[in-house]
Symmetry: C2
Subunit: 193 residues, 2 copies
């Protein structure tokens, strides 16, 4: 079954966006710092990791807030795949230059099923901290990919927040440093596995 992957650029203090996220500032104050590794002088390793990540994605799961902020600012996701947007509002599918957006009201499990059906066996990637937390808490995440950025933001949106206090064991499968970021990959160890 296609893996559900949470992939985020995160500061050492655990933030994936700065404070005061808005349509004008979708990454919050100082939040764009977290993507410098990709846009300012990426190393060969950085390029390779971004490319491998991108090539392995079959579909994207997105929270509604991330969709609203992202579509107005970036015009879509970094992935040219079908994107399933979790929302409470019934909306028709939307086709843009960067791909198709399908709106799902039936909850995270149904959205994941639909993404897997559309993804051709490739990874399903979650964008947005809130949605990532829901999948983690529900025990549905298979892998966590972190681009660990050597900066302390001090405040903003934490990736790992509100996930309950059940201990979740991981196994480190990748830890590769480049000058501007450390590429980490973890498998989620499923209870009883």
């Amino acid at each position: 079954m296609a893996k559900l992957v949470l992939s985020f650029s995160m500061s050492l203090d655990g933030f994936i966006a700065g404070p005061d996220v808005s349509a004008q500032l979708p990454m919050g104050r100082h939040g764009e710092r977290l993507h410098d590794w990709m846009f300012k002088a990426p190393s060969d390793l950085d390029r390779r990791m971004a490319r491998e990540m991108s090539e392995n994605v079959g579909a994207v799961l997105l929270g509604r807030r991330t969709f609203d902020l992202g579509l107005s600012h970036w015009g879509g996701t970094p992935y040219k795949t079908p994107t399933f947007v979790l929302t409470h509002e019934p909306l028709d599918p939307l086709s843009t230059k960067t791909g198709t957006f399908i709106f799902v009201q039936a909850g995270i499990e149904s959205a994941l099923q639909q993404a897997r059906a559309a993804g051709g066996g490739k990874d399903i990637v979650v964008m947005g901290a809130n949605l990532a937390q829901q999948y983690l808490k529900a025990g549905l995440a298979d892998e966590i990919v972190i681009q660990l950025v050597p900066v302390l933001l001090g405040s903003g949106t934490r990736l790992f927040d509100h996930i309950g206090d059940r201990r979740i064991e991981l196994a480190t499968t990748t830890a590769l440093p480049s000058p501007s970021v450390t590429h980490l990959r973890f498998e989620v160890v499923k209870p009883g596995a």
Copy 2:
């Protein structure tokens, strides 16, 4: 000048102790999980990193709460060096099997000066999240050493909390994975440096 180093075993979600820290449970619930890399089947790399860290320490800075919990439970710190304990209470120096404890009321800068004077040019290590946060916020930390443990604890004591929202840039100097932990080392980039 001797470097001030913050060194912690931290979960991927940023905790250096579990919830409900007490004299009976000084690492909190599930907190001992963070030290498994040292005590359960450490790799050669893990042993080397722990030894190098230990050999380079000239003095230790400790918060009063960490001192109280640590002395009763472990009988001291892992380092056989003079230890300076920040406290509001005037107390006489204490000699134990694991070293000398000097109690400092004059604040974090004075404690750091005294530790540097006692440390013979070697690194000064901070133990205890609260004290580490104070040194970070004051711009006095030179290096951050993280043993990143592949686990999500969900709750507990966060290392990077209450440090203000001034952005602090770091430079990654070490990122070495072993099966049970990833060894990370960062230099704190000083403003104007």
